[in-house]
């Protein structure tokens, strides 16, 4: 990060560019203000992001809070073994990946579609209303949202009532939506979309305003209709944003969320609703087995790390814009 003015000055004063350590020291001196300004942030990064990594050692111990570090019993990979050998782990991992996958795909498709549609709306008042209405659920906590979903789906809820009314069901045959394990992912997906679709459009709408209007005019002159303009102008225009968001989200693939699964899950749908976070909560934190929870957390971090780099690399190879 050399700054231009520095370069010129040094060139003027010293015709021969200093090299190595000397050059570094000089630069440091010249940019001391910048360096000073960055120190607090480096310290913050170090204290809050790197120091806690020390805590990973807990995963390799039979950790007891009362004992000092030296007194802890080291158990190697025992906790990882417990985690990976448990037959439920595969199931829990499957649920985690499936639910984040659903979230990722549905989230992207719906948010981009809604943003495209909103972008085409010419009546400002209508656009504002749609935006406000679709943002609203984002601000409800999951606790409330889960209650709404539960009530809607209960045997005497509105969905069953409607099915009865249209004659799809007989009285007494009401469907226990949350009691059918296979439905859970669908309910989760629909719930997440309802809650977050409006919010997710914001960034795309912002990206769309950056597109040069001349492109639209040119397309129109060439005889492109609305759909064609959306397809050939708007979408390519926001492609970089989409890719960057996609890469970031892939890094979060093991974070399928905690609250919706915890709140909507029950004994009947546990085979499909229990994800990694709930599993760790149940067998780690709730039992005071901190080591196991750390092992679970480590596993998640490492996988996320790998996924993030893989996605970024892929984008690089495909010649697309990327994160770093």
């Amino acid at each position: 990060m050399e700054s231009k003015p520095t370069m010129t000055t040094s060139n003027l004063v010293l015709p021969k560019k200093p090299t190595g350590l000397k050059r570094f020291a000089m630069k440091l001196l010249e940019q001391r203000v910048l360096v000073l300004m960055s120190i607090p942030f480096l310290a913050w990064l170090f204290i809050f992001k790197y120091m806690p990594l020390w805590g990973w050692t807990i995963a390799f111990q039979d950790y007891k809070p009362a004992k000092s570090f030296g007194e802890q019993k080291w158990v190697g990979f025992d906790h990882f073994q417990f985690l990976f050998q448990d037959e439920r782990f595969i199931r829990v991992l499957r649920n985690t990946l499936a639910m984040s996958g659903i979230n990722l795909v549905l989230g992207f498709v719906t948010a981009i579609t809604l943003a495209l549609l909103l972008n085409e709306v010419r009546k400002v008042a209508f656009k504002r209303i749609v935006q406000t209405v679709s943002y609203l659920p984002h601000f409800i906590s999951w606790v409330v949202a889960a209650s709404i979903i539960q009530t809607t789906l209960s045997p005497d809820g509105i969905i069953n009532e409607m099915l009865l009314w249209f004659g799809f069901l007989e009285k007494g045959e009401e469907i226990l939506f949350l009691g059918i394990p296979e439905y859970f992912w669908g309910i989760f997906g629909a719930g997440s979309v309802w809650k977050d679709v409006g919010w997710n459009t914001i960034v795309y709408l912002a990206a769309m305003t950056m597109i040069d209007p001349a492109q639209y005019e040119a397309a129109e002159m060439d005889g492109a209709g609305r759909i064609k303009r959306m397809w050939y102008v708007t979408l390519p225009g926001i492609k970089p944003v989409i890719i960057v968001l996609l890469i970031m989200n892939i890094g979060y693939l093991l974070e399928s969320g905690f609250e919706p699964q915890y709140l909507l899950g029950n004994g009947m749908n546990i085979d499909y609703s229990e994800n990694l976070d709930i599993f760790v909560l149940k067998y780690g934190i709730a039992q005071g087995n901190y080591s196991l929870s750390i092992a679970g957390g480590m596993f998640k971090t490492i996988i996320s790390f790998i996924l993030l780099f893989a996605a970024n690399n892929l984008a690089k190879r495909m010649g697309e814009s990327r994160l770093f």
């Binding site: 007891k64 809070p65 009362a66 209650s147 539960q150 009530t151 209960s154 045997p155 005497d156 007494g172 009401e174 226990l176 949350l178 009691g179 029950n266 004994g267 009947m268 546990i270 085979d271 149940k282 067998y283 934190i285 709730a286 039992q287 005071g288 087995n289 196991l292």
Partner: protein, 566 residues
């Protein structure tokens, strides 16, 4: 295990509510003579001019306004006696998080009551051993807890905290049903002519007939609570139906004292099969398996649910709402729920709690405490007869009266006066539980109940005319009389046996919960023809757990407790 904790909190709540709601009882003017040695200490204390100190006290169970103990009437009197004030802090938010933070920072309040997280606190070595302090400063603690010392000792033989469920004096049973029972709307009994219901079949027939007769009312025959850790309201009944009290996951044989789990035995099968039949007849609310606790309570207050099994403390919010409505309008009494001692075949029921001793909850002094001696003296001073009366009954002439026979009671005005805000100001809210005390069911030397709520005179006064009518129809004076007296079970409750964090037993319980939560709904909602098939699936899944190890561990612990109680 969370449920156990909850039990305890609830128990605490009940006591508090009971203490506040009932009033009248007779009095104990003369109680003081029994108080014994401690008086001397107390006297000494008062004569010496003592320096005033303030300690911090953390309460992980109850929810109340944080305060200084000397801002309450009771606390002020105690401060005058001892010079000690407590800054009382209550839990806000999640207990485990709060306790976890304390452990991580290694800074604790002077005195604390970690409730469900007590294992973590003990694991962290946060409590100091009390033995020497009790020896030196605790004559009353010795008198009140002495017979329990064996049970209170940790593995290293030391005592780290004082539990609350000790009994002092003669045992006085609770006239209300705060524990398990099969409940039914009073109108059902009224319509059927107050029949005696002893068996599960009779109970279900009663529900069935009533729903059939009232087809137009859109009634629900039965619901069941399954939400989260409260699932035991659905998984415990087989144990009660077989004639055992709530020992958690096990039935303890009364002759061999072997602990056997019942989650997959014939009792459970029989119970679930009955529910399955009920469901096939459209009398069982399917939504029971997806509803949360709030939805469940809402259903109970909707007047539509005819019957259910639950523990009194667990649905007391709903029952109190129904009772309040009935007080305003006697016709609403129809919808109040009445407890029935139902068993499979009419064998002797054991719904009432035997005088048990919960060993894994209590109050301890932490290693952060500056002056443990002052604290233990304060705690010891609480355990005199006079101060127990002060803590539970209040001040004579103000919050209770004593008649010429020495019975303590409360006048109607006093009853009205003692409401929630009075409780806070006076200190009942902070002192009637969560301190070393004479536990529930204890009595004073003159025979008065320590807890106003358990004083028969107080209970009688709280009854409405309708309550009296229905009790009279069954020929009893209290609800508890409907039930058989509890047998002596020195280990009770077996769920209160402390388990180590992350131990095999805890993991067994977690896994068992998971399996039962998954299969019980399937079993109940299956087509009756498929029941056997699903049951086999369930047994296979359950068979993977190391149940034998859990049972033998529990058996060993139970036997230890029997030994300790001898």
């Amino acid at each position: 295990m969370t449920k156990k904790l909850l039990f305890i909190c609830m128990a605490a709540f009940m006591v508090i509510t009971a203490a506040c709601s009932n009033n009248n009882n007779g009095g104990d003017t003369k109680t003081s003579n029994s108080t014994n040695t401690p008086k001397e200490t107390a006297a000494e204390e008062t004569t010496k001019p003592v320096e005033k100190v303030t300690f911090s006290y953390f309460n992980g169970v109850a929810a109340a306004k944080d305060t200084n103990s000397n801002e309450t009437t009771i606390g002020k009197i105690l401060e005058d006696q001892t010079g000690v004030n407590f800054k009382i802090e209550h839990l806000v938010g999640d207990l485990n998080t709060k306790i976890g933070t304390m452990i991580a920072s290694n800074a604790y309040p002077d005195v604390m009551l970690p409730d469900a997280a007590i294992d973590k606190i003990l694991d962290a070595g946060a409590f100091i051993a009390l033995d020497d302090l009790i020896e030196q400063y605790g004559p009353n603690i010795k008198r009140v807890y002495g017979s329990y010392f064996n049970q209170m000792k940790a593995e290293d033989g030391k005592i780290y905290f004082l539990p609350f469920s000790n009994t002092v004096g003669e045992y006085i049973p609770d006239p209300n049903i705060n524990q398990g029972a099969f409940w039914i709307q009073r109108r059902v009994l009224k319509e059927a002519g107050y029949p005696e219901i002893k068996t599960l079949d009779a109970y279900f027939d009663l529900i069935k007939n009533f729903v059939e007769k009232h087809k137009d009312e859109d009634l629900t025959g039965m619901v069941s609570l399954t939400h989260d850790w409260r699932f035991f309201a659905t998984s415990n009944p087989p144990n009660h139906l077989a004639g055992y009290p709530n020992d958690g996951n096990v039935i303890v044989d009364m002759t061999t004292f072997d602990a056997k789990t019942y989650a997959a035995d014939d009792n459970t099968k029989r119970w679930l099969q009955k529910l399955n039949e009920l469901n096939a007849d459209n009398l069982f609310d399917k939504a029971s398996f997806v509803d949360n606790y709030d939805q469940y309570l809402a259903k109970l207050t909707s007047h539509k649910v005819v019957g259910f099994f639950d523990y009194g403390w667990q649905f007391s919010n709903a029952q109190n709402a129904l009772k309040d409505a009935a007080k305003q309008d006697p016709t609403q009494d129809d919808f109040v729920y009445f407890p029935l001692p139902v068993t499979f075949d009419g064998q002797k029921d054991q719904y009432l709690d035997p005088p048990g001793f919960v060993k894994n909850r209590g109050l301890g002094i932490t290693k952060s405490a500056k002056d443990p001696a002052r604290i233990i003296q304060y705690l010891d001073n609480l355990l005199t007869d006079e101060n127990q009366i002060l803590q539970r009954w209040g001040i004579k002439g103000d919050t209770f009266e004593v008649d010429d026979k020495g019975r303590m009671y409360r006048t109607a005005e006093q009853i009205v006066k003692i409401d929630e805000s009075f409780n806070e100001k006076f200190g009942f809210k902070y002192y009637s539980w969560n301190w070393p005390l004479y536990g529930n069911g204890s009595s004073l030397p003159d025979g008065n109940s320590v807890a106003p709520g358990l004083q028969p005179e107080v209970f009688q006064m709280s009854l409405t005319n309708e309550d009296k009518t229905i009790l009279e129809k069954y020929g009893v004076k209290t609800y508890a009389e409907l039930f058989a007296a509890p047998d002596d079970r020195p280990w009770y409750p077996a769920w209160g046996i402390p388990k180590e964090q992350g131990s095999e037993q805890q993991i067994w319980e977690t896994k068992k919960d998971e399996i039962t939560k998954k299969y019980f709904p399937k079993l109940v909602l299956a087509k009756p023809a498929d029941f056997e098939k699903v049951w086999t699936e369930y047994i296979t899944a359950f068979g993977k757990l190391d149940t034998a190890a859990y049972e033998s561990w529990t058996t060993t612990e139970v036997k230890k407790l029997i030994e300790a109680a001898k």
